[in-house]
């Protein structure tokens, strides 16, 4: 069942490729249908998930390369299931958003997004490091083509930069995985086995090498300062739907890797270098918000806020590794996972909003807009909702996430929490500025009239905003799952 969910997008993609090129609408609708079916399957997985059972669920395994101890092994826990669900939701949103786009090879476009979704869900489900790596790269390569073919003016530069950065990161990660693999006797890539055996617990040098290799790999993807350089270019040059997936989902691969692989496989090293994680997280947090504050290009602004938002995940990992307080550790990890989901919904939604504006006005400069709320009330409402969610307003999902991480960070020291709150203040300021400048006020000279939203636009952005509200108001829709997942994770390596 899980396997079928993972590979359904790929299967749909192959069907889409087989559709004759003269029928672009068929390709679009088939892709959307496949995405919706994937979402239904993911919901089925969700319904069948027992949060009270600490074991891995929906597990499916088969021999893959028995000669080197690598197997096909997929399963979900309370951390990966929400991310798989998020992938399916955003896949549907993206496929619905591009429904009217019939030019420029829609079949290849749909195929790449569907392939990417298979890679992403595989990453979140894989319990074998080599399989994880395989899915990780499958989720990256299509984005190179998406940015390069459908991107903006500097797309070739951005695509190349993205490809080289992530490749360097993933090769470091691969070396780290191989280090873990070789430390096991008999050699195996099985993640549960590695977490259980803790093979590098007594080898601090090797553990440090593997730790930094993995940190490099996941840090590029997260991204954390100073490995974030690829992010603004790739996000800005990518087409709107590409930015949605890039920010909404691909960054989660790095975040998920930190939480679900680095932390449990190398808890000693994580504790030893926890201060480094915390410092990197705090720098990224401040840097992301300050850099976003300096932007006039709204897409670039949203891109930089991702650096800020994802830093919470790294901070949570640092807390989970360093904090002496078990409650704080669980709180921080819960917050990190909610942040992943919340950021996927909110930032994905923000990129959609910016994309709609650019589509109508041909520009993304903040100063060129004003009074949009009066002209397009629905658009304005959604924009406002997503922006407020992103700044952490209570009642929306961002608050649930960041509140928990800040709570956990207090156990590391008041000054840590103070820096986080400072970052939060800057972020609040920049979102208020964005909302004030674009939605309120009077339209500046020469602002073109904006066409009303199409149904596909209202629905996609509306759904994402609604889900964020749902998590914000009724956190219990996801919290039991996530809490079960993080307590399971903590129990694994602290036993």
């Amino acid at each position: 069942m899980l396997t079928f969910t993972i590979f359904l997008p790929l299967l749909t993609g192959l069907i889409v490729l087989a559709i004759p090129p003269s029928r672009p609408a068929w390709a679009r609708w088939t892709a959307l249908a496949g995405a919706i079916l994937t979402l239904l399957l993911a919901l089925w997985l969700w319904a069948g998930f027992d949060a009270s059972d600490p074991a891995l669920q929906w597990r499916a395994s088969a021999p893959w390369i028995p000669g080197i101890g690598a197997g096909y092994d997929v399963a979900v826990d309370g951390i990966s299931l929400p991310l798989i669900l998020l992938t399916a939701v955003l896949l549907v949103a993206v496929m619905a958003y591009v429904l009217p786009q019939h030019e420029r090879s829609p079949r290849l476009h749909a195929f790449l997004f569907l392939l990417l979704a298979t890679g992403l869900m595989g990453v979140f489900a894989a319990r074998d490091l080599l399989l994880f790596y395989l899915f990780f790269e499958i989720a990256l390569v299509p984005m190179y083509f998406i940015v390069g073919i459908w991107g903006g003016e500097r797309r070739r530069y951005a695509a190349m930069k993205f490809f080289l950065y992530t490749r360097a990161g993933s090769l470091a990660m691969l070396l780290g995985f191989l280090g873990l693999y070789l430390s096991m006797t008999p050699h195996t890539f099985s993640l549960p086995a590695i977490i259980q055996a803790q093979p590098l617990a007594a080898a601090p040098t090797a553990a440090a090498l593997v730790f930094f290799a993995l940190l490099l790999g996941f840090g590029v993807k997260l991204p954390t300062v100073p490995l974030h350089n690829w992010l603004p270019d790739a996000h800005v040059e990518a087409p709107t739907e590409g930015s949605v997936v890039l920010a909404g989902l691909q960054l989660k691969m790095g975040a998920y890797g930190l939480v679900a692989i680095l932390l449990p496989a190398l808890p000693q090293a994580a504790a030893r270098f926890g201060w480094l994680l915390a410092v990197l997280a705090l720098i990224s947090l401040l840097y992301g918000s300050l850099a976003a504050l300096a932007q006039n290009d709204m897409k670039r602004l949203v891109a930089y806020t991702s650096v800020n938002h994802m830093a919470y995940v790294m901070l949570a990992v640092a807390i989970a590794a360093l904090s002496a307080n078990a409650g704080a550790r669980a709180l921080a990890l819960n917050g990190a996972v909610v942040q992943m989901v919340s950021h996927g919904l909110l930032t994905g939604g923000m990129f959609l909003m910016v994309g709609m504006l650019q589509h109508r006005a041909g520009t993304r400069e903040m100063q060129r807009f004003g009074g949009v709320l009066a002209q397009l009330p629905v658009y304005g409402a959604l924009f406002g909702l997503l922006a407020f969610g992103s700044l952490g307003l209570p009642g929306l999902s961002g608050f649930i996430a960041e509140f928990q991480v800040i709570g956990g960070s207090l156990t590391l020291g008041v000054w840590v929490a103070a820096i986080v709150v400072l970052g939060l203040l800057i972020t609040t300021g920049l979102y208020l500025r964005l909302v004030g400048s674009v939605l309120l006020g009077s339209p500046p000279e020469g602002m073109p009239g904006l066409a009303p939203l199409g149904a596909h636009e209202t629905w996609t952005a509306g759904t994402l905003a609604a889900l964020s509200v749902l998590i914000g108001i009724l956190p219990n829709t996801v919290m039991p799952f996530i809490a079960a997942g993080s307590s399971r994770l903590l129990a694994l390596f602290q036993a």
Partner: protein, 479 residues
């Protein structure tokens, strides 16, 4: 030490079959005209298919030797024989399609068969004289394949360059082999290995240095790689593809056997040397490839870098259990992806003339199928999953780490990251640029079949490496 019998013709049935066909085709190829020019290729294709079948059926899976212990009949040799026969099989198809309606259509398969015989023998030779003999057969056939189009100035230059470099390198190698004979009084590798176990290391180093030079030339290891870009550029694309694969694989097999059987007690010496040469080779290859415009030169430097990766596995051949299997597997993967890459260059060359690069622009719009084949081959060469090159690189990196050469694995990983750039540039040109021509390229069924074979192989080896890895896990004959 003559453990085998001395007249075991069964052990060389594939070689005899192919050599017989090649000799029989020499007069045929000289006289055929018109439609009949396809005859030698057809015979060669059937012959190669038959020799693959014979290799599987006739040769035993146990390890033994033939011809008084001079010729290994073991899984290692069988593996490389099959690989070489398969590469030749694909290459004949491509050469035939490339030279259709030209005189060379009849000549190319004959030369290719000779080179294949040399490659097969090289992979199995345990005797110094045989090694040199087969190395020469591969090389001489290679010189001629380069100069197939005799009126082409750049082909003449390339062939001459190849010939002079090759002649010099093999002469030095011959000198090294004679030193080894002088040191030990033996011609068979296992015998030499046994005698050398407690010989004067200085002389071993000198003799080995000379011998290694010959191998280094053949598999394009730095600093003996200079000829490759010029030769590949001057040769026709399918000939360049063949030369980048068959002689290289055969010589790698021979080098592996030479080190494992001839110098097993001196791994302490050659292991770090191989590792250093590997790093230099991959780095030089990758850095030089960054600046190439011509596709064949780019692929030449790429295949130099690939040779560096393979040598990384050879460096730890006796330090890690999986290293030999990793080398074997990687060479199989290399064969598939490199043949696929050169095949697309051949298609472009045939459609658009000597410089294939302009035809590359917007290829994805013009001929999506060929763009996809090339993209798969390049991504695989870059080590992106789920393609063969990825699985191979994982195995090699694992072997290096397992052999406690972490620095080597890190250097290789850095190289792989750098190497992605020039492959991605080519892919970007195909997919991200508008096309100047809109007429799709017509390549014919032969090219399409060869492309399907190599591309599907590249994907299969990446997604399901288990079966090939089992084949690659080859015991070899030891006394």
């Amino acid at each position: 030490m003559n453990s085998g019998h001395c007249m075991d013709l069964w052990a060389v049935v594939p070689e005899m079959l192919l050599a017989g066909l090649a000799l029989a085709l020499v007069p045929v190829a000289a006289f055929v005209r018109g439609q009949w020019r396809a005859l030698p290729a057809a015979v060669a294709i059937i012959g190669l298919a038959a020799s693959m079948a014979v290799t599987v059926v006739v040769l035993p899976t146990t390890s033994t030797t033939a011809f008084c212990g001079t010729y290994a009949v073991d899984r290692l040799a069988t593996f490389y024989r099959l690989a070489i026969e398969f590469a030749a099989f694909v290459s004949v198809i491509v050469l035939d399609a490339y030279f259709r309606d030209h005189r060379q259509q009849a000549h190319a398969p004959v030369l290719l068969l000779f080179a294949t015989v040399g490659g097969l023998g090289l992979a199995a030779s345990l005797d110094l004289g045989l090694i040199l003999l087969f190395l020469q057969i591969v090389s001489v056939a290679g010189y001629l394949l380069v100069i197939l189009v005799r009126s082409d100035r750049s082909a003449q230059e390339a062939s001459l360059k190849y010939f002079i470099y090759g002649g010099a390198a093999l002469a030095v190698m011959g000198y090294g082999l004679s030193l080894l004979f002088g040191l030990t009084g033996r011609l068979d590798l296992p015998g030499i290995g046994a005698v050398l176990a407690d010989a004067d290391p200085v002389w071993i180093v000198v003799a080995f240095g000379f011998v290694f030079l010959g191998y280094a030339f053949e598999v394009t290891l730095a600093p003996f790689h200079f000829w490759a870009p010029d030769v590949y550029q001057g040769a026709s694309a399918p000939a360049a593809g063949f030369i980048s694969v068959v002689p290289k694989i055969a010589a790698f097999a021979a080098l592996l056997r030479f080190l494992l059987e001839g110098l097993p007690h001196h791994a302490v010496v050659w292991s770090p040397v191989m590792a250093a040469v590997a790093v230099v080779t991959m780095t030089l290859g990758n850095l030089a490839a960054l600046r190439q415009h011509d596709l064949k030169r780019l692929l030449a430097y790429s295949s130099i870098a690939q040779a560096g990766y393979v040598l990384m596995g050879i460096a730890v051949a006796l330090r890690s259990n999986g290293a030999v299997a990793a080398v074997n597997f990687y060479l199989l993967a290399y064969l598939l992806m490199n043949l696929a890459a050169f095949l697309v260059v051949a298609v472009l060359e045939r459609a658009g003339g000597a410089d294939a690069r302009p035809a590359l622009k917007g290829l994805a719009r013009r001929s999506p199928g060929w763009a996809a084949v090339f993209a798969v081959a390049l991504l695989s060469l870059a080590g992106i999953p789920p393609f063969a090159g990825f699985a191979g690189k994982v195995l090699l990196l694992t072997a290096a780490l397992d052999g406690h050469m972490t620095w080597l694995a890190v250097a290789a990983a850095l190289n792989m990251a750098v190497g992605l750039y020039y492959y991605a540039v080519v892919i970007a040109e195909m997919f991200f640029m508008p096309s100047a021509h809109l007429k799709p390229i017509v390549a014919g069924i032969g090219m399409a079949g060869a492309a399907a074979l190599t591309t599907l192989g590249t994907i299969a080896l990446g997604v399901m490496p288990g079966a090939a890895l089992g084949l690659a896990n080859t015991p070899y004959w030891t006394p």
